[in-house]
Amino acid sequence: MADMTISGEYFRGIVKDNPIFSLVLGLCPVLAVTTSVENAIGMAGAALFVLLGSNVIVSALRKQIPPITRIPMFIIIICTFVTMIDMLMEAYTPPLYKSLGIFIPLIVVNCIIIGRAEAYASKNTVKYSIVDALGIGTGFLLVLVLIGAIRELLGTGAIVPFGFKLISIPITPSTFMILPGGAFMTIGVLMAMVNYNRIRKARKGGQ
Amino acid sequence: MNPVAIIAGSALVIGSIGFLVGIILIWASEKFAVEVNPLVEEVNEALPGANCGACGYAGCADFAEKVVDQVAPIDGCPVGGFDVAKVIGGLLGQEVKEAESIYPFVRCNGGINCTDKIDYDGIEDCKAVMMLSDGEKGCSYGCIGRGTCVRACPFNALEMADDRLPHVIKNLCKSCGICVEACPNDILVMANDTEQVHVLCRSYDKGKVVKSVCEFGCIGCKICVKNCPADAITVTNFLAEIDQEKCTNCGQCIENCPQKSIMMRELVVEAVAV
């Protein structure tokens, strides 16, 4: 543990321990909210809030929590932050709150957050837990925005987050991408690409 | 509502739900307590934990229970072998005799030596191939070579070699016998180290037919029968079969076989050890 650096731990959360592609956790919100980049950013933000909060508290209390009750304790701590962000979003960002729907309270059973609390925050200092939360959160954000961008661009022909028209391409949009089928296909293709890359690296490494 | 009321209300509600849940769970953990014989746990710990089912029971935990109940034999786990049987015997306070270890043997020398009847392109499964007009090879009794046995082995102890025949990796084999069940043509047979001489053919086709498709197939000429000093070989339907109880591993049949269908096991293993 002596060779942990802040930037090292941060980037690990994005690449090596990428929540979606490496750990394959928390798939439900990824497919459900990526109908647009705006929703993707909203979800990633909410998840980051909860992740930061829970990592900090779990890490701060890690010596106090008896091992046998740790999972229920983690869930209660995570629940607190989820309820907080739920109420905050209902009050301050109503359109986002409406489009994310039940996936905000469902952050509490998002395996990423419980997983990080169990695997990292309960075993490391508050400082590194914060960095880990930021790293994993960034990884989550990047994946969500990527899938959201693909689906929104091909599904509506333009990317319009929060009212700013980012880009638009002159294609006939295919609503299929907005539908569930498009979500599964996009993530299937992306995972296949990640796998291909991994296999190629392993082959090169083996030679 | 004022903040104090909200905080007090929440604490009360969550507190009472938690309390109720706790009480019910404590009651349930006692009412539904399961009597676990600690001996069963100890036996289970000694088992390999592969849950392969070779013992004939539903996984290691089930076998552990049955052994303690004295329904299953102590040496009933072929994967654990004698070592595990000894430990279990120790736990139950019983003596265990060492049994000979057995390994699967491939009774076919076809593979690339056998002609193909059709050009097969489909599911890589021997059972599937056999359903397609008796298989793709000229000999319908031989090894199909699509690797169903290799995939069936839970310990990766079989591998397909360049000669399109499976080969056994002895030190990984746990003698569970699942590969023997998996082969649709009954090519694999379990044999122990004292059973050295085997006929590498399962074909009941007439001699002429066998020769036209396979270099090493048994044609049923009966030369081996005549030469066997122990009378251990019989030819039924153009296929020679060795009775391993009578066989003395003298090797006379091997020298005299015109087709080179019979081989000494160790030689086979050595020759193909890559």
């Binding site: 798939l27 629940c79 607190t80 039940i102 469902l106 293709v189 | 209300g9 969550i14 739900i17 938690g18």
Partner: protein, 194 residues
């Protein structure tokens, strides 16, 4: 809410299928749907817990949270209820059917973090369903989940003997199969006018 029981059932099983349309319960879906046996076991457990959770959470929401204006405690009290029910079910199965307990193995405690179950109970609360409607929605959601799980397991079992490029093997393959399945369910959109 004015939804009739019939429309709730059709919604839960087909139109707004939990797995393929609402994206709830996906982690268990890709993990467990490799074999029919484990898929069946998981589906049965999920259905059972969904029914009990719908009832229990309705009671807590209607009689404890709503009257005292404590609806912000919804998430935490529902998750306590679900975790409690799963633990109770685990005790009961372990006592009365050890083989079932052994075959379910790790899946039973995993139901606690299944988004589908928390999803049903939260939806029941948000849609203001009464007791019968909540119960029906729980049953329908469970049936819809089981149906898709069993379809997927059957397909994946057969598909496991196919030769696919290495990069596609495993999860990507499963997702492509799911794409086709979900496209079939899109044809149910509009059956119940929203």
């Amino acid at each position: 809410m004015e939804d009739s029981l019939f429309s709730i059932a059709i919604n839960g099983i087909f139109v707004k299928n939990f797995l393929l349309v609402q994206f709830l319960g996906l982690c268990s879906f890709v993990g467990v749907s490799k074999e029919t046996k484990s898929a069946a076991g998981m589906s049965a457990a999920v259905l059972f817990v969904m029914i009990m959770a719908s009832v229990a959470s309705f009671l807590i929401y209607t009689y404890l949270l709503l009257p005292f204006g404590l609806t912000f405690l919804t998430t935490i009290s529902f998750i306590i209820v679900i975790a409690f029910l799963v633990q109770l079910v685990e005790f009961i199965i372990r006592k009365f059917s050890p083989p079932l307990y052994r075959s379910l193995g790790i899946f039973l405690p995993l139901i606690t973090t299944n988004c589908a179950i928390l999803g049903v109970v939260i939806l029941n609360a948000r849609l203001d369903y009464n007791f019968t409607q909540s119960l029906f929605y729980g049953i329908s959601a469970g049936l819809g989940y089981s149906m898709v799980m069993l379809f997927m397991a059957a397909i994946r079992e057969k598909a496991s003997s196919l030769k696919v490029p290495e990069a596609i093997e495993g999860l990507p393959h499963a997702f492509f199969i799911t794409t086709l399945l979900s496209m079939a369910f899109v044809s149910y959109f509009g059956v119940i006018p929203t």
